[in-house]
């Protein structure tokens, strides 16, 4: 049953509808938390896509599930579980040696094994903790109901911290992402930056997991960023665009989930994917035209 049905439906008056929706503290908190998470995920995801670390990002997102399930099993807050597992996994992934393109497959094998094993651990934890079995779906696919004001404040704090560290290392990180060899030659500590970035990514996914669920964080990380990078090649502009798209997608998702019986995760991923497809289709259409400029657009 759509939540809205219980409180009066869609009235086709935007202002009434929004004020009606925001009359409920849980919706206001969902919007606050969603916005904070979307900004963090949009920015971190932009760097993740740039660095071609989607698989690592997906793994970091997924390990939040055993963290939360394990925390429930031992009886502490799920937040601790998310952060403990995501940050540890970030360090493990960072420790996997990267040596040239030939090792790409083997590196992915390690990451993939870690990911599947941790998911299996999560399943074991939920099997041991019987009461949670119904909650597997909400851990994996998220829930926007019942977010407390304290949670919003914690999310805000973590996001501000992550973004502050990112702002401090942003320029060298961008350099190291675009051309690691040249950056290393100029004395940029590429490896240290890479580790630091993965830890930040772990923190961002840990907090986002709490609302979108561990399986769908990845959608917020990868798709707004990919859309923004398909639209413009200018770093600062596309970074801002990525955060903006993430926020827009989250808001639309929340509104749609409020007015319909289907889950938030479905709407967020669908809107994000639609944006990505439109951006890519637009880009392809633009490139097909016999452009006077050499292909590739403004670099």
């Amino acid at each position: 049953m759509p939540l809205a049905d219980a409180y009066g439906g869609w009235s086709w008056n935007l202002i009434t509808d929004v004020s009606q929706m925001w009359a409920f503290p849980f919706m206001v908190n969902a919007f606050r938390a969603g916005t904070v998470i979307a900004v963090g995920a949009g920015v971190m995801g932009w760097f993740m896509v740039l660095r071609r670390q989607s698989f690592a990002g997906h793994t970091l997102a997924v390990v939040g599930f055993p963290g939360a399930a394990g925390a429930a099993l031992v009886g502490i807050g799920a937040t601790y579980g998310y952060f403990a597992f995501c940050l540890t996994a970030a360090l493990v992934v960072a420790a996997v040696p990267r040596a040239g393109r030939e090792s790409e497959g083997r590196e992915a094998a390690v990451v993939g094994t870690v990911q599947a094993f941790l998911l299996a651990c999560g399943f074991l934890f939920t099997a041991l903790y019987k009461g949670l079995l119904g909650g597997v779906t909400s851990l994996l696919f998220g829930s926007f109901l019942g977010i407390t004001t304290t949670q919003v404040l914690v999310l805000l704090g973590v996001t501000v911290l992550v973004l502050a560290v990112l702002a401090a290392i942003g320029r060298p990180l961008l350099f190291a992402s675009v051309d690691p060899d040249v950056a290393a030659g100029r004395g940029v500590p590429v490896r240290l930056l890479s580790t630091l970035f993965l830890v930040l990514l772990g923190a961002a996914t840990a907090e986002a997991s709490q609302i979108t669920g561990t399986l769908l964080v990845f959608a917020l990380l990868v798709m707004p960023a990919a859309t923004a990078q398909a639209l413009t090649a200018r770093p600062v502009l596309s970074l801002a665009l990525s955060a903006l798209i993430a926020v827009a997608v989250t808001w639309l998702g929340l509104i749609a989930a409020y007015y319909s019986p289907y889950p938030l995760g479905f709407y967020v991923t669908t809107f994000a994917f639609a944006g990505y497809v439109l951006a890519r289709a637009g880009g392809l259409a633009g490139r097909r035209r016999p452009a006077p400029l050499p292909a590739g657009g403004p670099a």
Binding site: G134, V222, F266
Partner: protein, 293 residues
Amino acid sequence: MTYGSGPATVLAASGWPGALGHPFFQHALLAGTAIAAAAGLIGYFLVLRAQVFTGDALSHVAFTGALAALALGYDPRLGLFAATIAVALLLGGLGRRGKVDDVAIGGIFSWVLGLGVFFLTLYTTSRSAANGGAGVNVLFGSIFGMSSGQARLAALVAVGICAAVVVIARPLLLASVDEKVAAARGVPVRLLGFGFLLLVGACAAEATQAVGSLLLLGLLAAPAGAAQRLTDRPYRALALSAGLAVGEMWAGLGLSYAVPQVPPSFGILAAATAVYAATFVPVPKRRPAPVAA
């Protein structure tokens, strides 16, 4: 059905030596062995071709496929195969030579996963509440819940996949190791890339029944990764990968039988991860061998 409540109570009563006497264990062993062999063979090529992320994406697609079929009232296996094979072809079509950009993969599969949640809601709200565990079963597998017909069919399909891999192993190996040389020698690299993705899709659909769509990646990646660390010779590694996968499947099933609280998919994954981790332990060389072992 929740794990540890159905067959597990029967298990606790009997004890380990009687495992093979239980039909459900025989079915699990039959299907599991064939599935593990197929996953080991396919996984070796996935790792070799650096397409592990593609395998991951296909395993998530399996979730959506199974739930879509359930929501629409069909056999979940129909959805599994239809969805994974369709997406495998889509991914193959997107990339050159059957390889795909990881951002495109990520975008597609996270949306497909979102779609899976949609079908899960549709299924759990529209159909009987007794099937509330369907999502969990698809995600994490239910190998102890297979009927004899299901197990036989699964084993047949898995044997078919194995046979197909063995048939194309030689050209596929060449195409994976050195695309340009293979193309120059007249190997149809692009076609092989497509064919391989098709097999990955079929294998993903197949293995989902045993370990579930979320854990499938471990069965694909861990034995293959371990085999590649143990030997450099391709055919030996290919055989080793399949052998390890089968052994890990048996170990996992046995572990789960001996300790009923442990779900079988966790046992299988734990065995696979332990073997892979063991290959990273540095072995002190007994003798200063002049020849590399």
